[in-house]
């Protein structure tokens, strides 16, 4: 049964259906989108039950010849990492639709278009994580930009058009570098394997000379570093996240950016092991800079814009993820993959709640809030829990992943791990300062009559908070899925001195 | 003796003579096209070139094309040009003054560059074998040879190009077509309008002056008071400045006075 194709097609069909509805039927469009995305989420979970956790390779494999002249295949398949990221996308999409029920009203186009775009985006997210053919991956990687571009540029706030263009240009720039590398790989594979191919598992067999490998690696890495985003390729993120609607930001930071770190593991490490090892220390340094840089700027924003603040915290978190990836240890790798999932949920919660706060107060400045805990206790609590998850409090999901990353790094690079650990102090600052400013203190004028969460919002946020807490205590559920792939990936690097 | 024969890549002497007589005429005509002020003259010079080309086609063993060149180009296409010139107005002569800065010098340099490079490339080109001539191909006649190839190998292109031609014809019709905004006026309405407005003389335009010693189409008639009637001659003639002065044909008033 072609699980992945069906999974990917469902939202696409749904989006067509939503798009064909008459313009006035806004509520119906929303309900339809919610229904379809929930159906897809259920289908995805059903698929996950038949996933074999014991093996490291691809499962649910589909492979059809697509453009035989260029050796391009329609190849799909997932390993543990891809499966979890797909599930993350599938769970977050209905949450976002429900949470952002009334977000599309201020848009340039009709409400139904917003939801249709969200569903298209869901298809792209499934595709990009499921593709096993590098060409197909590239196709989804770039095609994903289109709905996001329209979601930011058409439905955002403030300087949405500029932010959308900035996002698009950054991503395209990275994408083109990657395309060059893909073509390079294709050409080399033609020389070495006899038949040129785009199949990842075939391409792993190549043996490149050092110069070529470095260049091709950089093409991929810069594309992924922009996507992730890693310092110094990050400046599009705060602008995009600020301009986008909270729902879009959730998918952008929660899922789309994971394509960057996902790609680093799937392509950079597996296709270019030697270049990865050679440049690993440099990337570790970049990651550390990201951790601190993001944290400091988040602290700076703790008196500024709440959405920019969250996006800077994400830059810091992505620093941890890349740190774990390029530590080349089983703990670091598993921790990073787990971090991707956990960060997805905690950032989703932060962004959704921040979005509700902004919608209620009509301002995104931290200084305009104050005393929310008195007025809207539930809202304040959910924000606080999401914030605690973001600062990696033990008992919440992010802790396990952050700690695994640090332990994994410590095994190979103790100094880097020590420096990275200092980042947790800054994490406390960038969460607690805004928490104090927005939630504590006297109730500021203008906030007296804010409404607490309504039923729809409660239903939307409850599963996210529940998962944040649950995965804090039972991360092994996820780790069992992640471990085989991560261990195989690290073992394939074949680093001397490892047992 | 085959006039079109080629020996060691050289043509027969008569063909060379033909070439060296005709080609300077054609080049000069082409240069003339660039330099003459009036579009009509350009058109005529173009016709000269085309006829020259037709002759060269025939000399090059392409008799069918040569004839077609004369019929289609020099006949139909040039006629079309002239018609359009007539529509647009022969008076719209070009001033050769250049208005875009650097255009003329650029054009001359560019064209010289193109010409120089083309000729230098052509001079260096080499087929790698002696020129063969079309004697063998044209055994059954040039038209048959063309037909054999056109309707076999190039039949698809032929069909496509015919579709293109039809489309072009339709396109020209669409472009030239003007949508009627008001219902077509009946003759009666036209007549009534004409009387009411009285802009155009109801009785029709006056004819040109008719004088015995001259074809008088270019000479305005004289009104009863002796002034020339502008309406009596074609505007085109007036625009071309070819109006003759009617006063030369006036009766000698002094004589009349003297008789009285």
């Amino acid at each position: 049964m072609n699980w992945l194709t069906i999974l990917g097609l469902l939202p696409l069909i749904g989006s067509a259906a939503v798009f064909l509805l008459p313009r006035e039927k806004e509520v119906l469009a929303k309900q339809l989108a919610l229904g379809i995305s929930s159906l897809v989420a259920v289908a995805g979970l059903a698929m996950a039950t038949s996933f074999d956790r014991g093996v490291s390779g691809f499962q649910f494999v589909e492979k059809y010849s697509w453009i035989p002249a260029f050796g391009i295949n329609y190849g799909l398949g997932v390993d543990g990492m891809a499966l979890l990221l797909i599930l993350l996308a599938l769970i977050l999409t209905p949450v976002v639709i429900l949470a952002c029920w009334n977000e599309a009203e201020g848009g340039r186009w009709s409400v139904k278009t917003f939801f249709a775009l969200l569903l298209i985006l869901e298809t792209m997210m499934i595709g990009v994580f499921a593709a096993t053919d590098i060409f197909l991956f590239y196709l989804f990687f770039e095609a994903m930009l289109i709905p996001v571009y329209f979601l930011i540029g058409g439905y955002g706030s403030g300087e949405r058009a500029a932010a959308a263009v900035k996002f698009l240009l950054y991503s395209l720039f990275g994408g083109l570098l990657m395309l060059a590398s893909i073509i390079g790989l294709y050409v080399v594979s033609g020389d070495q394997l006899g038949a040129a191919t785009f199949d990842v598992s075939e391409l792993q067999k190549l043996s490149l000379n050092n110069q070529t490998e470095l260049l091709l690696f950089l093409g991929f890495f810069i594309a992924f570093a922009i996507k992730a985003p890693l310092w110094p390729f990050h400046t599009w993120l705060p602008d995009a996240a600020k301009a986008a609607t909270p729902g879009t930001s959730v998918l952008l930071l929660g899922v789309l950016d994971k394509v960057g770190t996902y790609g680093m593991i799937r392509f950079c490490l597996s296709l270019f092991p030697d270049a990865s090892k050679q440049l690993g220390p440099t990337i570790i340094v970049l990651s550390l800079i990201s951790i601190f840089y993001g944290a400091f700027l988040a602290i700076w924003q703790s008196n500024g814009d709440i959405k920019r603040l969250i996006s800077y915290t994400s830059i810091s978190h992505f620093g941890f993820i890349t740190l774990g990836i390029f530590a080349f240890t089983a703990q670091g790798q598993s921790g990073s993959i787990l971090y991707m999932v956990n960060h997805g949920f905690s950032t989703a919660a932060l962004f959704l709640i921040a979005g509700w706060m902004i919608a209620r107060r009509n301002s995104s400045k931290v200084a305009d809030f104050g005393g929310l805990q008195r007025v809207t206790p539930l809202l304040a609590w959910t924000f606080f829990i999401a914030g605690l998850s973001s600062l990696a409090l033990p008992g919440l999901s992010s802790f396990v992943s952050e700690f695994l990353v640090l332990v994994g790094t410590f095994v190979r690079y103790p100094v880097a791990a020590v420096i990275g650990t200092l980042g947790i102090i800054l994490a406390a600052l960038y969460i607690l300062i805004p928490v104090q400013r927005a939630l504590h203190g006297p109730v500021l004028p203008g906030n007296e009559n804010l409404k607490d969460l309504n039923l729809r919002e409660k239903i939307a946020i409850a599963p996210v908070i529940a998962l944040i807490i649950a995965f804090g205590f039972f991360p092994q559920v996820l780790l069992n899925v992640i471990n085989p792939g991560a261990q195989a990936s690290v073992a394939a690097l074949n680093i001397e001195g490892d047992k | 003796m085959n006039l079109a024969a080629i020996i060691e890549n050289q043509t027969e002497i008569p063909e060379a003579v033909l070439f060296f007589i005709l080609s300077p005429i054609m080049v000069l005509s082409a240069l003339g096209m660039l330099l003459v002020k009036k579009a009509v003259h350009s058109a005529l010079l173009l016709a000269v070139i085309m006829i020259g080309l037709a002759i060269f086609y025939i000399a090059n063993q392409a008799s069918f094309l040569g004839i077609v060149q004369i019929v289609v180009y020099t006949g139909a296409v040039m006629m079309l040009f002239l018609f359009i010139l007539m529509l647009v107005g022969v008076d719209s002569s070009d001033s050769l003054e250049e208005t875009i800065r650097g255009q003329r010098i650029g054009a001359i340099l560019g064209s010289l560059g193109v010409g120089f490079l083309l000729i230098s490339l052509l001079s260096r080109a080499d087929l790698g074998r002696p020129y063969s001539g079309l004697d063998l191909v044209n055994v059954e006649g040039n038209v048959q040879a063309i037909a054999n190839t056109l309707f076999t190998r190039y039949v698809w292109a032929f069909e496509v190009i015919s579709a293109l031609l039809i489309t072009a014809a339709l396109g020209a019709m669409v472009l030239a077509h003007r949508e009627r905004l008001l219902p077509r006026k009946s003759q009666r309405e036209l007549a009534a309008e004409r009387v009411r407005q009285n802009v155009v003389p109801v009785a029709g335009l006056p004819g040109p002056g008719t004088y015995a010693q001259h074809n008088a189409v270019d000479i305005p008639a004289l009104l009863p008071d002796g002034t020339p009637a502008d309406l009596s001659v074609s505007k085109v003639i007036a625009a071309r400045g070819e109006l003759a002065n009617p006063s030369t044909f006036r009766m000698n008033e002094k004589k009349e006075e003297g008789q009285e």
Binding site: - | A30, N60, V72, L127, Y131
Partner: protein, 99 residues
């Protein structure tokens, strides 16, 4: 005389036609210059056909003529339309490409 001379003539006529397109402003004259360029290339085709001993060159020239005819028909119709609305046949007057 070498057959190449036809080619040189063709190149010369083509060049003069190009110069005409660049220099003349009357749209009709420009068109005539384009016709000149097309015809010049036809001469080259015909000459190539003779050099190669293959009729294909003539077929090409034939097709070129048809295309040229189409182009003239449509082009002149456009000129007429433009003239109708602008009262001018100068190519410099129609510059809506730049606002």
């Amino acid at each position: 005389m070498s057959l190449d001379y036809y080619l040189y003539l063709s190149a010369l006529l083509f060049t003069i036609g190009a110069a005409g397109v660049l220099i003349r402003r009357n749209a009709i004259v420009v068109f005539m210059c384009i016709e000149l360029m097309l015809n010049a290339s036809n001469l080259a085709f015909v000459t190539f056909a003779r050099m190669n001993g293959s009729i294909d060159g003539q077929i090409f020239a034939f097709f070129t003529m048809v295309v040229a005819a189409c182009e003239v028909v449509v082009g002149l119709a456009i000129i007429v339309t433009i003239y109708r609305s602008r009262r001018s046949a100068s190519v410099d007057d129609a510059r809506l490409l730049k606002l």
